[in-house]
């Protein structure tokens, strides 16, 4: 009998990290910045962004697939992380540019003058020049880095505390998280929100002080960073959902009342998972938006969070690798179809242009997956060999709750 360890219990960790490492290596070798140049810089950025989306999808799987909370707000945490990093990037870079132009004057500029000029530069577009209070830390890299974690974390904590303590569950909770997302995006759309309204923050792809470094190299750095974050996030969440902690949160999903009667403080577990995944989503966003170059309130709109749930469902809930694969496959396919990469299909009487029909295809395939293949893409791995070391034959669903795992979704990863 082999000894049970964290890694032998979670075989997917090994395979996932191996695949990720190979993928990173291949992309690095083929990239423009560090290899042969077979992959363009913009595609490296797309791949790097996809890795960030995979990370937030893994977080979403923990909160939905394992804990049974269908959160429609995790892309808001993702966007907040992006805003926090964006504030520093924008401030620091504008400061360098402004300092250069002011240095040309006969008299050296005072720090206050530079600060004011940066304010005029950044907020001129919304007709303001004063720095709002929320930009207080923008000049400090480390403070803003801390905010990447703190802002989504505290929002998730406060919101989760309010929602869980009043025992809002199921569909109500989903609608409530969606309302939170909508409120946040509407707030950010205002010009006087202090974050440049619908202009958002831009020019984030330029790292301050690194103008000499070509974008091809910056893109591969961010790609590595995203891959490392995904690997770390995967390990973290695999650890969270395994062991006793994992059993409790899965119990909450399948039969919340019973877990409560057994003496566990259900609300604390939910709050922990909700906040932790919110923080990871924020970090993923902080890695995503420097690669995207721009962030605006549209990115936080409720639809983004719904897409996140769709990726996880298509990939297969309750399997961390499933969520990651779902996010990767659907977002890459989506950019392939919508960028006009897919060939049109002439039907004689009508030509199907994928830019117009991709969303229809996505909607139909999503409904089809929900109805016909609840295991999602991840279920394909069950076809390969033995599904699990010791798998008892299960009779019926996993629990009486409406969000409980169904038998048709297959055995989950533990």
């Amino acid at each position: 009998m082999t000894r049970k360890t964290f890694l032998t219990e979670n075989r997917s960790i090994f395979w996932f990290l191996l695949a990720l490492a190979v993928f990173t290596l291949v992309v690095t070798v083929l990239s423009t910045g560090a290899g042969t140049g077979a992959i363009s810089t913009s595609f490296v950025k797309t791949l790097g962004r996809t890795l960030c989306l995979m990370l937030v999808a893994v977080a979403m799987d923990v909160v939905w697939g394992y804990t049974g909370i269908l959160s429609l707000g995790h892309m808001a945490f993702f966007g907040l992380g992006g805003y926090m990093i964006g504030m520093w990037l924008m401030y620091a870079r504008t400061e360098i540019i402004v300092a250069e132009s002011l240095a040309a004057a006969a008299i050296p500029p005072t720090p206050q003058e530079i600060h004011d000029a940066v304010g005029t530069q950044i907020f001129g577009v919304v007709g303001a020049s004063e720095f709002p209070a929320i930009w207080f830390f923008a000049s400090s890299f480390w403070a803003q880095m801390a905010l990447v974690v703190l802002v989504p974390g505290i929002l998730a904590l406060v919101f989760g505390w309010l929602a869980f303590r009043s025992r809002v569950t199921g569909v109500y909770l989903s609608i409530l998280t969606q309302a939170m997302t909508l409120a946040l995006s509407l707030y950010l759309f205002q010009n006087d929100s202090g974050l440049r309204g619908n202009n958002g923050l831009s020019g984030l792809q330029n790292l301050p002080g690194l103008d000499a470094v070509p974008q091809s190299l910056v893109s591969i750095w961010f790609f590595w960073g995203s891959a490392a974050a995904l690997a770390a996030g995967y390990l973290l969440f695999a650890w969270v959902v395994s062991g006793k902690m994992g059993s409790v949160i899965r119990g909450i999903r399948d039969n919340e009342s019973r877990v409560r009667f057994l003496g566990y403080h259900v609300e604390s577990y939910k709050l922990f998972v909700f906040t932790l995944t919110g923080i990871v989503a924020g970090i993923a966003g902080a890695l995503y938006y420097p690669q995207a170059g721009i962030i605006n309130p549209n990115e936080i709109a409720p639809i983004a969070s719904i897409y996140l749930a769709v990726w996880v469902a298509i990939g297969g809930r309750g399997r961390l690798y499933g969520a990651a694969i779902g996010a990767g496959v659907v977002s890459l396919l989506s950019s392939w179809f919508t960028s006009g990469g897919a060939p049109d299909i002439p039907l004689g009487f009508y030509t199907i242009q994928w830019t117009d029909w991709w969303l229809v295809l996505l909607g139909v395939s999503f409904v089809a997956v929900t109805l016909l293949a609840p295991k999602g893409i991840g279920g394909l791995f069950d076809l390969m060999g033995r599904t699990h070391p010791v798998m008892p034959a299960r009779v019926g669903g996993y629990g009486p709750d409406k969000g409980a795992r169904r038998k048709s979704e297959g055995e989950e990863e533990k």
Binding site: I107, S166, A183, L359, G363, F366, T370
Partner: protein
């Protein structure tokens, strides 16, 4: 004269043909009358003076001749000429050597006269003003109500002191009650500002306090207009509105100091840019006032350099914060009324306060109507959702797209049936039928397989929703399509200057009421309603009683979707039809259902009312920012759920499902 003869001849012919017997006699009469009045006062007409002209005008007005008004007008415009040959007055036009004359009474050509025989009459400015107000009086007494109304409009736009007397005079003879009331109001407004005695003005001002028209409010605030002034100490004799504290919201310190500078009471403060410019100008050998340039990158270094320059006398001394505070403290700032008499401004202030209180109350009533109309829209949009959610525990994310489908149905019907009323009558049931069918299809194909899995249903219906949205975009394009309302729905119901509501909104309100009644009837009085309620409360027990829950679910889903279609037509009438219109309402509909409580029509009604009132209320506090209104409303809903997690009207007992 030879040229004139044929014209005269032709004229005579025309006149004979057109005006037989009596008509002609009358016209001659009138002509002689106007001319004879003028002849009586020939001297005053020919050389009018401000004092003497009154008699002429009085006679002209008294005659009541329609041609008198025209005469006054042209007189003021310097188009009246005296023909010295016959001593009569004509309108004339310069034709080089001669003037073409026109009879002042009939407006017909009256021959011509040599240049030196006619004399242009040039009333001076004062006379023209007298004539002008006399003209107003003519217009105010014109037999045509439209002319009188126009004259009043002109008066209200540019009120001045001269018009008061003629306006008052015209009230007596006014027959039309509406115009008479308007005249009285205007007379009050004018006398509030221009009457001669203080008593008259105060009386007029207090009579304005009972109205709420924009005109009255404007005239009161004009009386209360103030000028901001500054002095060493408060003047004794001035009519002072209020004293201003520098540094308060009404008068920021910077603005107050700028005012002192404008008045020459204090030296201008140097801004950071000015200091920098002064330093730059005095830069020499890498030093400014003995301070090396390298040290000028700090505020302290700059202050030192500037102080050195000021001491050398090259720049004016720095105005420090202390000296600014001192200057502000040694002066008083106050608002002074333009109107010198405090009795009048006090009366106007009281009147305006009274009017504003009434305006505020009316605005509240108007806001209430707006909120009610918004609530009825939310009710229509959400009731279908509430029914399906209540009965089946299913959230239908495609509900918004059913609204859109209904609106597009209305649009397509309008393309086929051009008559707007007819097309609306066809579109309403058709929209119901189309979305009913779509709802039943959705239930049969998707939702049936996902019972007891509400989260999956939510996502699956979301898939349907993006599919339908994209399909609508592919079929109808991305631009907004108009759904034109019939003519009888245009316009608005105007109660007074403040309260008004458009007819479409009234119609939607009525539609919502009809649906409320209809749904209550179906649920409480029909077999279907009984079965629906049974399935809502306990599907298993309902099944054992012989009710087919499957069929009920299908019909309920169809009904909910059908109502969404009708809501779509209603919303399309006042908003534009786009593929995204449903998405704009879906979140509000969810809020309505969640706040109201599930599975109860009254709950949805309460939820819709709360959300509508709340949204309008928040918008009222911050009218420029509807985004903020929505944000705060959502935050409110999130907090509301803390206290009533099951909504306003919560089901109790086993039906609640816990």
């Amino acid at each position: 004269m030879p040229r004139v003869l044929p014209i005269v001849f032709a004229l005579v012919l025309c006149a004979c043909a057109a005006l037989p017997g009596t008509g002609r006699a009358q016209q001659d009469d009138a002509a002689s009358d106007l001319q004879s009045i003028l002849q009586t006062h020939a001297e005053e007409v020919a050389d009018p003076g401000r004092r003497t002209v009154g008699a002429v005008i009085d006679d002209l007005v008294a005659s009541g001749l329609p041609s008198a008004a025209t005469f006054l007008e042209r007189w003021a415009d310097r188009e009246v000429y005296l023909n010295t040959e016959d001593g009569r007055f004509y309108y004339a036009e310069d034709e080089g050597e001669t003037y073409a004359l026109t009879n002042i009474a009939t407006g017909e050509p009256a021959g011509s006269a040599p240049e030196d025989a006619v004399e242009e009459i040039r009333p001076n400015g004062g006379v023209r003003r007298v004539i002008g107000s006399a003209l107003v009086q003519f217009q105010l007494s014109d037999p045509d109500p439209a002319v009188r109304s126009d004259a009043l409009d002109a008066l209200a736009r540019r009120p001045n002191a001269e018009q008061l007397a003629p306006l008052r005079n015209s009230i007596e003879g006014e027959q039309d009650p509406a115009i008479r009331a308007r005249k009285e109001r205007l007379a009050a407004i004018l006398s509030a500002r221009f009457a001669d005695s203080t008593e008259d003005r105060i009386e007029a001002i207090s009579s304005l306090a009972s109205g709420l028209s924009l005109e009255a409010r404007a005239s009161l605030s004009q009386i209360l207009e103030t000028q901001q002034r500054v002095a060493e100490s408060l003047p004794e004799d001035a009519n002072i509105a209020t004293e201003l504290e520098p540094g308060s919201d009404a008068l920021p310190a910077a603005e107050a100091y700028a005012r002192l500078v404008d008045e020459g009471l204090a030296p201008a403060a140097q801004s950071r840019e000015e200091i920098k410019a002064a330093l730059t100008a005095n830069l020499a050998d890498g030093r400014v006032g003995g301070v090396p340039v390298g040290q000028l990158g700090t505020e302290a270094g700059r202050a030192r350099a500037y102080a050195a320059l000021a001491e050398a006398g090259t720049v004016p001394p720095l105005v420090t914060d202390e000296s600014r505070a001192e200057a502000l403290a040694s002066h008083v700032f106050y608002l002074e009324y333009d109107e010198p008499d405090p009795a009048i401004t006090d009366a106007a202030r009281t009147a305006l306060d009274e009017v504003e209180t009434r305006v505020f109350l009316n605005q509240m009533a108007d806001l209430g109507l707006d909120a009610l109309s918004l609530a009825s829209i939310y009710f229509l949009a959400a009731i279908g959702l509430a029914i399906t959610f209540g009965v089946m525990g299913v959230i239908n994310m495609a509900h918004g797209e059913f609204i859109m489908m209904g609106a597009y149905t209305g649009y397509v019907v309008q393309q086929i049936i051009p008559d707007y009323t007819m097309s609306l009558i066809v579109a309403l049931p058709l929209a119901f039928a189309v979305t009913f069918g779509a709802g039943v299809a959705l239930e049969r194909l998707v939702i049936r397989w996902l019972y007891h899995r509400p989260l999956e249903t939510l996502l699956a219906t979301f898939g349907i929703s993006i599919m339908l949205q994209q399909l609508a975009k592919n079929i109808f394009g991305t631009q907004a399509r108009p759904l034109t309302s019939p003519g009888w729905l245009d316009g608005a119901w105007v109660v007074n200057d403040v309260i008004a509501i458009s007819n479409i909104r009234i119609a939607i309100f009525v539609l919502a009421l009809i649906f409320l009644a209809l749904i209550l009837f179906v649920l409480n009085r029909t077999r279907l309603g009984l079965e629906v309620r049974a399935v809502t409360q306990n599907p298993g027990m309902a099944g054992s009683m012989g009710i087919n829950p499957d069929r009920i679910n299908m019909l309920t889903f169809g009904l909910g979707s059908g109502i969404a279609g009708i809501a779509g037509v209603a919303i399309g009438l006042y908003a534009q039809v786009t593929s995204e219109m449903g998405a704009n309402y879906i979140v509000q509909s969810f809020m309505t259902v969640v706040v109201g409580g599930v599975g109860n029509v009254w709950g949805t009604l309460a939820g819709a009312t709360l959300i509508g009132v709340l949204q309008k209320g928040i918008e009222w506090f911050n009218p420029s920012n509807t985004l903020a209104a929505q944000t705060y409303m959502i935050l409110f809903v999130i907090f509301f759920i803390q206290f009533r997690p099951k909504g306003i009207v919560a089901l109790k007992g086993r039906a609640a499902g816990d």
